[in-house]
């Protein structure tokens, strides 16, 4: 059976990067209920938090959840345990981006699309999705 790696050092890594304590999560799922992107995520926010509690980062390498998160903070303001889940999602993004991997390739965006996009969309998108 393919068991994901449980890793205490990964728990610490996520906590350090996010400034949050993922162990506080009690798995109530309020984050998922509040998330406008949950339907499109491979793992809903609650499940992402659960994997984080065991440091199972390697099992989340290929999921889209933290790329779909647009940091709208709907979850963060509602979490009954006071966890800023948007920061945990950012930590997962950063773990990938800091290995020089891009989630999107800006050069492949068609020029006619780039002409339409407002500046803040490109600044925000490239900051969140490219290294």
């Amino acid at each position: 059976m393919n068991t994901p790696n449980v890793s205490l050092s990964s728990v610490k890594k996520i906590n350090d990067l996010s400034g949050e304590n993922v162990k506080l999560c009690m798995q109530c799922g309020t984050c998922t209920a509040a998330c406008p992107m949950a339907d499109e995520m491979d793992f809903v926010p609650r499940k992402v938090m659960h994997y984080n509690q065991f440091g199972m980062i390697s099992a989340m390498e290929d999921i889209n959840s933290y790329w779909k998160c647009a940091s709208c903070h709907s979850c963060s303001v509602r979490c009954p345990r006071g966890i800023d889940i948007a920061r945990v999602m950012e930590a997962l993004r950063q773990l990938v981006l800091r290995t020089n991997k891009n989630y999107i390739e800006p050069s492949r965006i068609p020029p006619e699309k780039l002409k339409q996009y407002p500046g803040i969309m490109m600044v925000a998108g490239f900051r969140k999705l490219t290294s």
């Binding site: 940091s71 920061r87 339409q116």
Partner: protein, 294 residues
């Protein structure tokens, strides 16, 4: 009180209509704002990792520029700029360790301690003018117009920079009522529009935006008002694509709150730059006799 105006990148081209309508309105209302001589990108999104201070330099440098100008208040119109500047300001006010690191990194600049007040235009209008005073200056009341006030994410979250508490939309609602419009409550006023995600999606796939538009239409709104150029793109300019993919059942004119304010105050239509909005917006306003084109 001296107010610095921070425009932000998008307001100088794609969202010029958000800016020009606001500045013309402020002049009529007698509010003196000074556009910053030098400014840089606010970063658009606030850094959320604990060790990433380098991306704070952008927004903090803008605050430093405003302080240099002798301002005690900085005002922005774009929701995303408001959010990044207000959060950077909170960080500089409340986190002595990070503040010290940032100040020492920018050693060519004067030190900054979060002393400015960061305002969005909506809260500035309420505090400095007041709805009563605005209603007294109206030339073209927005009568027979049902509006939905859309706040999006960045005007209200996180709570420490929210222009008003979560679930409350009184600033925009009160403004529109002062302008003579009818405000309809709708359930998606603070839902995320999908933000920058469109950059990696096919056109018309943005279900987050579709949910908001459907909710606004169901509430009986005839038009949707926003303060963010990214929301305006997702909710306004992408409607045709959403309609083609059957994500929404009807279009709904989407425009900036500053355009409505300006029209009500009698600002000439050309200063509201409706050519930058979805083409149906000006037709709609002409039918409502709010917009008169020569």
């Amino acid at each position: 009180m001296k107010i610095s105006y921070y425009p932000g990148c998008t307001l100088k081209y794609k969202a010029k209509n958000l800016e020009t309508a606001a500045l013309a309105s402020l002049e009529i209302l007698g509010i003196d704002v000074e556009e910053m001589e030098r400014w840089n990108c606010c970063g658009a999104v606030y850094s959320l990792t604990d060790d990433d201070l380098i991306h704070m330099v952008g927004p903090v440098r803008n605050l430093v520029r405003a302080k240099e100008q002798g301002a005690d208040t900085i005002v922005t119109l774009c929701s995303m700029c408001y959010n990044t500047l207000a959060r950077a300001n909170e960080l500089m006010k409340n986190d002595p360790e990070k503040r010290d690191t940032i100040n020492r990194f920018m050693d060519e600049e004067i030190d900054y301690f979060g002393e400015l007040e960061v305002h969005h235009l909506l809260s500035l209008l309420k505090d400095q003018v007041g709805w009563q005073a605005i209603s007294e200056k109206i030339q073209t009341p927005l009568t027979d117009l049902k509006l939905a006030s859309y706040y999006g994410c960045t005007l209200q979250r996180p709570a420490e920079v929210g222009i008003e508490p979560m679930g409350s939309f009184t600033l925009m609602n009160d403004l529109f009522q002062a302008l003579g419009a009818e405000v309809v409550p709708f359930g998606a006023a603070d839902k995320c529009c999908g933000s920058y995600q469109v950059i990696c999606e096919e056109e018309g796939d943005n279900t987050a935006a579709a949910t908001i538009l459907q909710s606004a239409a169901a509430s009986g709104a005839e038009a949707l008002a926003t303060s963010c150029p990214l929301c305006e793109f997702n909710l306004g300019k992408q409607q045709e694509a959403l309609l083609e993919k059957d994500k929404i059942s009807q279009k709904i004119p989407t425009l900036y709150f500053t355009q409505l304010l300006a029209l009500a105050l009698g600002v000439p239509a050309e200063q509201c730059h409706f050519e930058l909005s979805d083409s149906e917006v000006s037709h709609f306003l002409e039918n409502k006799k709010i917009l008169v084109t020569a």
